[in-house]
């Protein structure tokens, strides 16, 4: 899986015209009030549910039975 690097988002925001500009991830959980050097953008990961019986559409086992 290609890494949707959270760091790349920060880099991109802090250097919008910079030569280190990299591809932005697609989805953001939080993208408000960004401030240079202080914010971290978190991603919604679309892939982690796949292939796991107990976490389909939810992020943890509801019970352990």
């Amino acid at each position: 899986m290609k890494r949707n690097n959270c760091n790349q988002v920060n880099l991109d925001i802090q250097n919008p015209e910079g030569k280190d500009r990299k591809k932005l991830p697609v989805l953001f959980q939080k993208l408000t009030k960004l401030e240079k050097g202080k914010n971290t953008v978190r991603l919604i990961d679309c892939d982690f549910y796949q292939g796991k019986l107990f976490v389909q559409n939810f992020y943890k086992p509801i019970s352990k039975i």
Binding site: M1, R3, N4, N5, C6, N7, N10, L11, Q14, N15, K30, G37, K38, N39, T40, R42, L43, D45, D47, F48, K52, L53, F54, V55, Q56, N57, F58, Y59, K60, P61, I62, S63, K64, I65
Partner: protein, 361 residues
């Protein structure tokens, strides 16, 4: 001027230190890798110092080891080289949810129409995930009626645990066709463990274990690990099993977890909201793994879901989950039910027969 080179872990590759070894948790890819605790400390140094500074603290003969380790991190895509470490702040590990309740267990032993009001009440609490555990056959009609109550709600996923033989394959397909929120059907008491595959987006499996009641719950093993940002961040602050959970036991009692003793009313005369408003309802929600004996030294603590209903010392709510056989001080998994130190608790919870059946299988 040549800028010093630093090595940074990707912010979604987070280290968790255990007593005997540590984990690199890749919370995007949902994978983890073991590292020695010395390496954990070295990565900690990398956060503060450039690679050259680190090397200068070690004899020349060990430089190759450091370079090999950085090559390992790089090859596994855990981190990257940079001259601007200040541009890469760590990930925010806060956990927030707009829902007063995120998940729910409904245990049912007999047809009781009071259960039909539960999906609507869960909807009002913003509940996203529901697990319905039927320890007896309730009939297709009742299950259809109960599931139909989840339509037009915010509930996103419904899992069903049901005795094998209760539905034939055609009935299961119809159930899934009629109820799009169904994501998992587990049929217990089968002759062997068998994956019947997925129909639409719902997985159907048979398991040999005979789930007689809620005392079968609370197992801790690798198959229940989940590695993702939601669980990882929730685990930093809250109990990963009990936080934002509401349950109904097989008698209709409203509880945090069906296996816990304290009831906050019965669905016959109490609403879920009234139960949730009780001052004691949330009292275990903030017992995170860092507060639990033994678990606080375990490298798996932020990918594991806890159990407070069955613990090693029933008089100490902070003791280790009873059904966990992992020893973080040795890094070895052992059968929990035969551990002599757990026999007193097994007797306390009346699980002797359950354990015998588990051991026989």
């Amino acid at each position: 001027m040549r800028l010093p080179i630093y090595y940074r872990m990707f912010s979604d590759c987070i280290l968790v230190k255990g007593a005997a070894r540590s984990l690199i948790c890749d919370i995007q890819r949902g994978t983890y890798a073991f590292i020695e605790n010395d390496i954990y400390d070295l990565i900690g140094e990398l956060e503060k110092c450039s690679i050259e500074e680190i090397k200068s603290n070690f004899p020349q003969s060990e430089h190759l080891i450091i370079e090999n380790f950085l090559a390992y991190l790089n090859a596994n895509d855990f981190g990257f080289y940079t001259s601007h470490p200040e541009r890469f702040p760590i990930l925010n590990l806060e956990w927030k949810s707009p829902s007063p309740i995120t998940n729910s267990i409904i245990d049912i032993n007999k047809v009781d129409r009071h259960y039909l009001s539960i999906p609507k009440q869960l909807n009002q609490l913003g509940c996203k995930a529901v697990q319905i555990r039927c320890f007896a056959m309730l009939g297709l009609h009742f299950m259809e009626e109960l599931l139909s109550k989840t339509k037009d709600t915010k509930i996103e996923s419904v899992q069903i645990i049901y005795p094998v033989g209760g539905f034939d394959l055609q009935q299961i397909e119809e159930l899934i066709d009629n109820h799009e929120r169904l994501v998992s059907i587990v049929l217990f008491g089968a002759s062997e463990d068998k994956n019947l595959g997925s129909y639409r987006k719902c997985s159907v499996i048979e398991i040999a274990e005979n789930l007689i009641d809620m005392s079968c719950c609370g197992k801790i093993n690798k198959s229940f690990f989940a590695l993702n940002i939601d669980l990882f961040t929730e685990s930093q602050h809250h109990n990963t099993c009990l936080n934002r959970k509401i349950s109904i036991d097989a008698e209709g009692n409203i509880k945090n977890c069906p296996s816990m003793p304290q009831s906050f009313g019965n669905i016959k005369d109490t609403t879920l909201q009234e139960a949730l408003d009780h001052p004691d309802f949330k009292k275990y929600w903030n017992i995170n793994k860092d507060k639990i004996h033994v678990c606080k030294d375990c490298e798996f603590r932020h990918i594991c879901t806890d159990c407070r209903a069955y613990v090693e010392d029933p008089e100490d709510i902070l003791s280790k989950p009873l059904k966990c056989g992992y020893n973080p001080y040795t890094g070895v998994w052992e059968e929990w039910s035969t551990n002599p130190l757990k026999q007193k608790a097994i007797e306390f919870y009346g699980m002797q027969d359950l354990v015998k059946e588990d051991t026989r299988r």
